[in-house]
Symmetry: C2
Subunit: 274 residues, 2 copies
Amino acid sequence: MGKEFGWHRGLPADPGEQLKHMAPQPLTADREFAPLSRAELRARLEQVGQERYHHRHPFHLMMHEGRLTRGQLQAWALNRYYYQSRIPIKDAIILSRSQDRNFRVEWRKRIVDHDGGGGRDGGIERWLRLSEAAGLSREVVQSAEGVLPATRYAVDAYLDLVRNRSFLEAVASSLTELFSRDLIALRVGALKRHYPWLSGGLDYFTARLSEAPEDAKFAFEWVAEHACTRQEQELAVRALERKCDILWAQLDALYFAYVNPAWPPPGAFRPDQA
Amino acid sequence: MGKEFGWHRGLPADPGEQLKHMAPQPLTADREFAPLSRAELRARLEQVGQERYHHRHPFHLMMHEGRLTRGQLQAWALNRYYYQSRIPIKDAIILSRSQDRNFRVEWRKRIVDHDGGGGRDGGIERWLRLSEAAGLSREVVQSAEGVLPATRYAVDAYLDLVRNRSFLEAVASSLTELFSRDLIALRVGALKRHYPWLSGGLDYFTARLSEAPEDAKFAFEWVAEHACTRQEQELAVRALERKCDILWAQLDALYFAYVNPAWPPPGAFRPDQA
């Protein structure tokens, strides 16, 4: 299945090996042994990223290889805006669950980064400008009409995770930012090269190049300090896997609706409407 | 896009017309006029079904034409089990929101139908037997490991709808049962004809042939009586649309993962593992 595609790159060629690699790891007794060292925990998290982060997804590979149409990039910008628009809400939920002032002071930076205010733009405004550069009106994007239902479900599942799972898992689910800098650096170059008409709208990504690593550093240190037992460490790893699933599912839905077989569901955005 | 496929059958051939048909209807002022008659409301709901119910989905068309492999049917049974397993929970949430004893007495029939008990099987047990007939072990199915994340998100969005939207919308979202009898009748014949090895597992559907119309009749009568204003009627129609989206998204995810491009996400069921 899809062996020729890049998201299997770097994984063993034998499908059996691949499955062992990708199958969810059961929480069996041998995982309740000694806690991992900080370096081992970091390595486990990095491994999740290598296997499951959406830099491997065929939609992103097409994007970076210049193989997306303008309409497909519009669908991406529109759907991803729904995700962006929920990020400060997600962070406010996490903020609301912390009784530690120092934590809250650190974490609120994320809300400021996304919402802006006090004369500064934030990530949401920058994403709207990216959407406009792609040829969409900000009103259409902000209305969220035409967003794929599957996008909503996945994004809402993220809010559900940070609201209803343990606080440790809520924080750990943000650790995809450990991997986002590399993806964004690659993307900015690729977008400029392949879609020069988008070049005026890339401020979102250049801002994230510095914001994301700061956020990831704080979140990793916090998780490493607060996941004391092996079981807690495993919960953190799982939370990161669940978050990777959420990002991946959004691209699956985009690919299905707009690349192949290219069947947007009833009521969804159609590029030729833009 | 996918014009050759059956889910566009019966819709106008001109894509512009099609879009008008399928675009979500805004809640504009002209909808706040006089309430619809019972017959008009019924017609509006039927129209939603004709346009958005998942009988049109390519995955179902393939199923009914005998074009699914055993592995694809396994993936369907496994993922749909997750949906089935949440139905009594969904109905218990609705039950918990009603202060009307008569309503609760009627509605609890649904929970009994699905959960069984007192020596009777229910829909969930019957779905497990269907899964076994498809070649899956009930333990694998019940564990829900390997269920597509997108299936979980869509099903959980259904629970979210009945928990957090108005009670009228929660009840109205069940009105897809207005359309399920015809689909099931078609399906039972098609499954027997094309996949004779499944024949021993079809009790789920034969039971639903009588259960679903009873449930739909009660729910429609209740909605017709309690959606008094035009705005309430429109909310009921929208809730039915949202439910159709939820069913549709589940099949989109199956099609993407197991038919075309056939890329199950990391960690998901792979037919050759069964």
